[in-house]
Subunit: 318 residues, 2 copies
């Protein structure tokens, strides 16, 4: 999904992929095939480009540190990535150090979780930051997850607080590129009656994230373009939404390996749905794509996105 | 520019290109290299795909007719393409037959040209049609052309008439895919005082067109996605604009072969500009890319797009 942004910006993108079956290897010309966990493979690949960025959590931070010591530009840096790869220790200790509330940290205090939020930001090497509106993730058993941007009814002060937390983490950890901060909106029972809520950090990801796929159709600058701009030290783009509401729903693979018929139905039924398929082999339960709908009316946008995703996934009877 | 749409829709795109230096061959994996004017090359290439579509006016209609006779699905059809390739005879005769006013046809009647318009439509094999708002093309000596969508101040009745002309031509000629109809808004001196204007057809193109590049950032469905949907007989997408105004300006190559510095300036100066570079070698006067700006205020949108394009092109002193 980063490739279209690279093409438009005139940036040459090379990809290291495990096999030709991976989506990126199917889309980007001349993929280099190899195991990204193998330090020698990684070192040879790094020689082909000016900047190395990592989209796979399996890449060894130690191997990236060695490359960086040898002069390879790695963004985000291995030092920043270490916080993601070892969240139980380093990240939580560091986040606690600079005062964010971290999930688990306050365990036993009887805090009630309200909903899942995601604060998506980008940071460039020079420290420029950009933030998309805080989104909500809705998990739906037996069907695709939903991301709504902006999070409906979120208190503006709390949205500002979540964005501030994400930008602060990006700065403190020296993140370059997209940082997704997964948060919970929580209420303390002692303050529940007056509706006071706060946010706690659940997890971090230092790359374009599921919670930001809505930005491809719904924001002036997508998370993929922004990640490229940031890691290449280009000025960041405008993260503002193009429409009041954007909703993205995962499309799950169904029992019919050929999506073609349901895909035709969805296109005919709603010409405004943006369908994104990942070119993966279809199997039940796998996320094989997503749909995004943008518009003025939240209920309408949600219903359209849900119908399209569920229809392709076979959840709605054909 | 069609490739990102193909990737999102899960469509495999193969390209026949003259050399690896062509933009499409740089972007799409495994390009087939060969001369598209050579019937044997074209026949071999056609075997690789389910549908063949043509983006190069040099392809021989006779060669395409032979392929079609051999069972290759060619969209738009060679019969339709013939009207474009021989506009002086077949097109003008046929358009005259079904009553459109055609430029040249009324030469000598003292009609005054007001401005250039472009009516962009798409048509699927089943006859479904979709139309983007009529755009205006502004030619500026010594710098990049500008396309404004929708055409400012265009009488709604005249816009509807231009769209109707384009959809009618698409239907009458059996066009499948995107059809761009270049028109002139004209006034007859005898009716000039009362402001009565009409449109005459100047030219046709049966493929995604320069006048439709604004749709990539400015419409729910871009001309590239729509062309793919149409030629593959998928239901057409929503052509509505995402913003009140979209302006696209050509970026011309300048004396500095490295665009990098001016490109940085433009990104830093205006984070909302969408920059599209074509990956061509930069030489003075060549169109090497375009910029698009979308927004609420026409004067602001035009000024921003113009500044960005002129700065990259070196028209504004650095």
């Amino acid at each position: 999904m980063m490739y279209p942004a690279a093409v438009a910006l005139g940036i040459r993108l090379r990809v290291l992929a495990g096999s030709t079956a991976e989506s990126a290897a199917r889309v980007v010309p001349e993929p280099v095939l190899g195991d990204c966990r193998d330090a020698a493979v990684l070192a040879a690949f790094a020689q082909l480009s000016d900047v190395l960025t990592v989209a796979d959590a399996q890449v060894s931070v130690a191997a990236l540190e060695k490359l960086e010591a040898d002069g390879v530009v790695v963004r985000p840096s291995p030092a920043a990535l270490a916080y993601v790869q070892d969240p139980s220790v380093a990240m939580r200790r560091r986040l606690t150090e600079f005062g964010e509330e971290v999930a688990g940290h306050e365990a036993g205090q009887g805090v009630a979780r309200r909903r899942e939020l995601a604060a998506l930001v980008a940071r460039s090497p020079s420290g420029q930051g950009a933030a998309w509106p805080v989104a909500e993730r809705v998990r739906v058993a037996g069907t695709g997850d939903e991301v709504i941007a902006p999070a409906p009814g979120l208190d503006p002060a709390l949205a500002a607080r979540a964005t501030e937390v994400a930008l602060r983490i990006a700065g403190e950890l020296g993140v370059v590129g997209v940082l997704a901060v997964e948060l919970s909106e929580v209420v303390d029972p002692s303050t529940e009656l007056d509706g006071t809520a706060s946010v706690v950090v659940d997890d971090l990801a230092m790359r374009p994230h599921d919670a930001g796929r809505w930005t491809v159709d719904g924001a002036v600058t997508s998370q993929f373009e922004q990640h490229l701009r940031a890691v290449l030290d280009l000025p960041l783009g405008d993260p503002r939404p193009r429409a009041p509401w954007s909703v993205t729903v995962d499309v799950l693979g169904c029992d019919y390996p050929d999506l073609y018929r349901s895909y035709l139905h969805v296109m005919a039924h709603d010409p405004g749905v943006k369908v994104h398929l990942y070119g993966k082999d279809v199997s039940p339960g796998t996320v094989v794509g997503h749909v995004t709908v943008c518009g003025e009316d939240l209920d309408d946008v949600r219903a359209r996105a849900r119908h399209a995703a569920d229809f392709i996934a076979g959840v709605i009877d054909k």
